[in-house]
Chain length 248, copies 2
Amino acid sequence: MLSKTHTKYIQSLQHKKFRDETGLFFAEGPKLVGDLLNGAACICKEVFALEKWLLANPGMPARHPDTRFEMVEEFELEKISALSTPNQVLGIFEKFWSEKEPLLTGKISLVLDTIQDPGNLGTIIRIADWFGIKHIICSENSADLYNPKLVQSTMGSLGRVNMIYTELTGWLTRNKHIPIYAAALNGKPVQHFAGTKECMLIIGNESKGIQPELLALAGEIITIPKIGEAESLNAAVATGIMLSHFTN
Amino acid sequence: MLSKTHTKYIQSLQHKKFRDETGLFFAEGPKLVGDLLNGAACICKEVFALEKWLLANPGMPARHPDTRFEMVEEFELEKISALSTPNQVLGIFEKFWSEKEPLLTGKISLVLDTIQDPGNLGTIIRIADWFGIKHIICSENSADLYNPKLVQSTMGSLGRVNMIYTELTGWLTRNKHIPIYAAALNGKPVQHFAGTKECMLIIGNESKGIQPELLALAGEIITIPKIGEAESLNAAVATGIMLSHFTN
């Protein structure tokens, strides 16, 4: 039986303030919780699961002696879940360790300017993981990495991509030995960049684009040629298209 | 002042059943309502707007003599809106006319197998509109084109792409003079298909992929090469990547 205090404490992790204070976040569903439990990078503190999940995963408690497993009823899971349809299990994890000043030489990295929609940022992390991108540098006003919606939308890629939140102008200036590319309108077609091995690619906020001071630092502006009439592409879709041409 | 009956009738359009019965749907926000009002393909029956919107768009009623414009208060807009933050204006439109048996020769068309998430389908329509795709053929169990979430996520591309809901096996068989390609794992790399001018590209449900009987009809299986570790790509992202290589 989940106590009222415990329920409130888990609910509080839906808010960034409490995630920052505790250094914890939560993830839900058999697939995602399983991936994070089995991932090397992640320390799991507690798992709250329906009997069904515990029966389907009998070896879990023995393989994770430092994790507390608690069986809960459906109505209890509903209380602590952030999903409209709670899905068997919720795990509380320690935030990932992040490499603050990684070596970007010889790599393609992403620089995200104000991606505020958690679902969009989660999808970008999943795309980065598909294309083998190791580092994403986000502006400080980007969606929080541990927002429940973001965690769910990464589909298990969370923790496989190093995420850095920082002031971008300073970051780009410090790392300007790496070519800086920006995804924007009226640049060179993305097809010209097939075989790119090293760059920092700036992706902008969907409605506002890339801030002028960041755009000014870019050595190349890259454009996805438009044939039809849509006004823009979703930031995650644009990221996927750019990376697929770079790694061509 | 919006009557109770009128409020209920607008609210009922959140349900497919009532949209099908009335042949109507609604869209929200100055940008989207403006785009649809100004688009040639769309007949607008009614507009419910805050005074602010009416003042900012003084010429609208004169340009649309067949549309009824009504000023509403914020609390009334909240009642009829499907958005968590209502945005100035809601318009009620007649569903688009759809071309049921278009000529697909010399064109790239999309065939969507069970894309059930309205946001995903809306994003795919927007991508199709960017790349100049004229026709999307959806399985009958796909998200409804006039679902409020879908309408919002098309960002104005709704009505610029012809949407057909039909049984896909029959469709593909009838149109098999057009090359059938399928986006799936373990196929030829998408880069080999640069310059594709004519095909029907099948995109599958994210969790289940493409149904075996549809996959069997495909002349080519096309794959987005994976470098990292993510298990899959979002269906809309995969669509964007494929189309950007075809139109290379």
